[in-house]
């Protein structure tokens, strides 16, 4: 057989698999990662809503009443509920990943992961308690 092979010597005809647009649906860790990335949008939305709330509070009783009425709309409530779930996901996933990115050494020994994660959760709990106290103190 004299026909030349369909590849050059030292450079065979490779097969490269095309990656599906839906690669992130194939495995739970990939889906979790994409949800974590998407949760940034919810975090931004929550920050914007909070800033608007503060602005309305500062602008006067009338503006704040209008704000309160606007956020009671079913669509806004649904959006807030979804955003809240995503913000929780964002916080929990990042706190759990914190020990991977943040390596602390005390006396030459690495601080255990659970201490770093626990410190993050403790700080979150204290901050939440302070905000709750400020809002609910009457």
């Amino acid at each position: 057989m004299n026909q030349a092979p369909p590849y050059r010597q030292h450079h065979p005809r490779w097969y490269r698999e095309r990656i599906s647009t839906y690669w992130w649906l194939g495995k739970w860790p990939y889906l979790k990662f994409v949800l974590r990335e998407l949760s940034s949008v919810a975090v931004a939305l929550t920050v914007v809503m909070t800033l608007i709330q503060v602005w309305a509070l500062r602008a006067g009783r009338e503006f704040y009443a209008a704000f309160e009425q606007a956020v009671r709309a079913p669509l806004v409530v649904a959006l807030a509920a979804v955003s809240f779930a995503f913000v929780l996901l964002h916080a929990i996933t990042w706190f759990n990943l914190a020990p991977t990115a943040m390596v602390l050494r005390v006396g030459g020994k690495r601080v255990p992961d659970f201490v770093i994660t626990g410190a993050n959760y403790a700080a979150w709990f204290v901050a939440t308690a302070m905000v709750a106290w400020f809002i609910l103190r009457g």
Partner: protein, 247 residues
Amino acid sequence: MAETIQLEVTRYSPEKDAEPSFQTYEAPLRKDWVVLDALNYIKDRVDGSLTFRWSCRMGICGSCGMTVNGEPKLTCATFLSDYAPGPVRVEPLKNFPVVRDLVVEITDFLEKLQKVKPWLIRKDNKPLAEGEFLQTPEQLEQFRQFSMCINCLLCYAACPVYGLDPLFSGPAALALAQRYNMDSRDQGARERLDMLSQSEGIWGCTFVGECTEVCPKHVDPAGAIQQYKLTAAKEWFKSFLLPRGSE
């Protein structure tokens, strides 16, 4: 326990196939057999044309990485009995071009590895007569985990960023760069910084974390990359605040 197990193995011949297909083989299901043993059984007794890489059979050489039932695995450390009653699907590592059957082309990784200068760089080398560079156990502990990499490339197969952007340096190369950056005997961190700080370097990593999950040697490439991001950010701040004095 059944006496045999079916293996669905990827076959690809560049001379005649447009794309890979699967061929089913039957192999003995023995308690102490790993997937690599079954592949060697097929190669020796059933089909000598089956092509795959392997060498040490004990998780040291990093040659026998393949995709087993969708997961990147070292086939010498993956027991057949864990997949009983089967079938077990054995494919080449994802994210690399397939040369033949289960063999992938890894030149891209080797070039990237070279670029991060994974060796000790010294600016003030001393004569051999003065002896070795000493290191305390604490200094060794700083980088020991990252030095366990065997270049098996399971992390590249698990990394969607590398799959989607082949320019990305990838987990193993970046972890090995960090291994030398953290070595007390090394003075090459500044030389590596320019390469590592590019968008194809550490900033290409989006912290999916699967590289760490699949690593058979517990190297934690995701950790190495995130830790280096902190270092690079600090260096950037230093150069921003002290443009002339950051060297």
